[in-house]
Symmetry: C2
Subunit: 256 residues, 2 copies
């Protein structure tokens, strides 16, 4: 139990948050108990569930900076089996405080340890950089999932990121595995995108998930109603594919 998965990529806007939210929800729908941890000072997990409507008092900020126990910040998402820990950063000063506490790179790992046996999966959403927050996410993780869009900038960023992960893993977390490279926002009408996915499969072989997440307006719409796409539009291609991704991940785990 207690698989810790970080969703990370240095490239912005490739679907890290969307994947954290929807993979987490899909695993919960398959009766796994899941905790989503928001490591992004922007608080994107909270935005995904419209938490600003609920007067949240405590989050990861209080745990990392004020030494509050983690259990005091766990909120249920509204879906059985899916809990959240929002970031709860309210100002730039708090963001700076959190980044500097995070210079202790195993801080999150230590904080998460007590709840590791309560959950089947703990999914960590990282910000689009390699700062101390992401490093905490990578030190705490058993595996990292790397979302990538099939476009040139993201392809170049992927190569760099995989090298960086090698050296981070050597220095700080020898257990860290690559859970997989996930192609997101795939537009099958664009020939160039198909070529890039073929190139990815040729180069990275079974590191690339079989499941590809299509570009789907329901996925982009879901956060505006405060729901994961699986609950907003269960029959949409986006929802179906995130459920498939959860199945692929659960079966990979059984192979290991």
């Amino acid at each position: 139990m207690g698989q810790i998965i970080s969703i990370s990529s240095q490239k912005g806007g490739v679907g890290k948050t969307t994947t954290a939210v929807n993979l987490g929800t899909s695993l919960a729908i398959f009766n796994k108990s899941v905790l989503l941890v928001d490591l992004d000072p922007q608080g994107s997990i909270g935005i995904s569930f419209h938490l600003e409507d609920y007067h949240i008092k405590f989050g990861l900020y209080e745990v990392m900076v004020k030494n509050m126990p983690l259990t005091g910040t766990i909120i249920n998402s509204g879906l059985d089996n899916l809990d959240l820990i929002p970031t709860n950063i309210r100002s730039e000063d708090q963001e700076i405080e959190m980044y500097s506490k995070a210079l202790k790179l195993d801080l999150l790992k230590t904080i998460i340890n007590p709840v590791k046996k309560i959950y089947d999966y703990i999914i960590i959403d990282c910000p689009p950089n390699l700062g101390s927050m992401t490093l905490n996410g990578l030190v705490a993780a058993d595996s990292v999932i790397i979302p990538v869009v099939s476009e040139y900038y993201a392809l170049k960023a992927l190569g760099k990121f995989l090298n960086t992960l090698k050296s981070i893993s050597k220095k700080y977390n020898r257990q860290l595995k690559i859970g997989g490279i996930l192609v997101t926002m795939f537009d099958r009408r664009i020939k160039k995108q198909k070529e890039i996915v073929e190139y990815l499969r040729m180069t990275f072989k079974n590191l690339v998930f079989e499941t590809v997440i299509p570009r789907n307006s329901k996925v982009a719409e879901a956060p505006s109603v405060g729901k994961p796409v699986i609950l907003h539009a269960i029959h949409s291609e986006g929802a179906i594919k995130y459920l498939k991704l959860a199945e692929e991940i659960m079966s990979k785990k059984n192979e290991n």
Copy 2:
């Protein structure tokens, strides 16, 4: 002369780099002299022009960390009137060095000053966070352009970012103006996106550029051939709209 424009947003993947490259190119096509400065440790401006094929020795890293004069790092893009300064960061250690030199928030402003009179426009591409690199970009700038995609997460991030800009401007750069909010990757087939653009125009009025950049596969393809979309596909909607944006910006400047 010497208008310094930073392209900035805390949200990832909203077209900061694409806007820096294509707005810069468009201004150069209109006979303005333009310098693109890459403030993103990921080196996205260099990636856009395939600079890795040219054995670049020096970039902003050498200027900010090794005190090399800025003029020693200026490269021509291949297009008359369009010069570049790549980041030239080759390792995480160099990235850390650069971020800590950048804790002196007016470092870039001081460095850029000597070349201010050589160029009509200096365009600075920022990374997707509010770290010391972006802060350098905002302290050095006369104005900031904020790209935004017409989707929920980006809308929430915009509100936060505008507040943050107010306090940054108060503390560090009272001259900083908002050059404009630029809607990028607009997909007019998606009703929700149209509603978001209408909402933006209603809320932020003439802070929002008239020009909207459409989602256009030629724009996404251009970096894979190492060219701005204006040179890769001059008749594409993406190229036409970035040229229009340049006209809108030049006429705004004449009104002031």
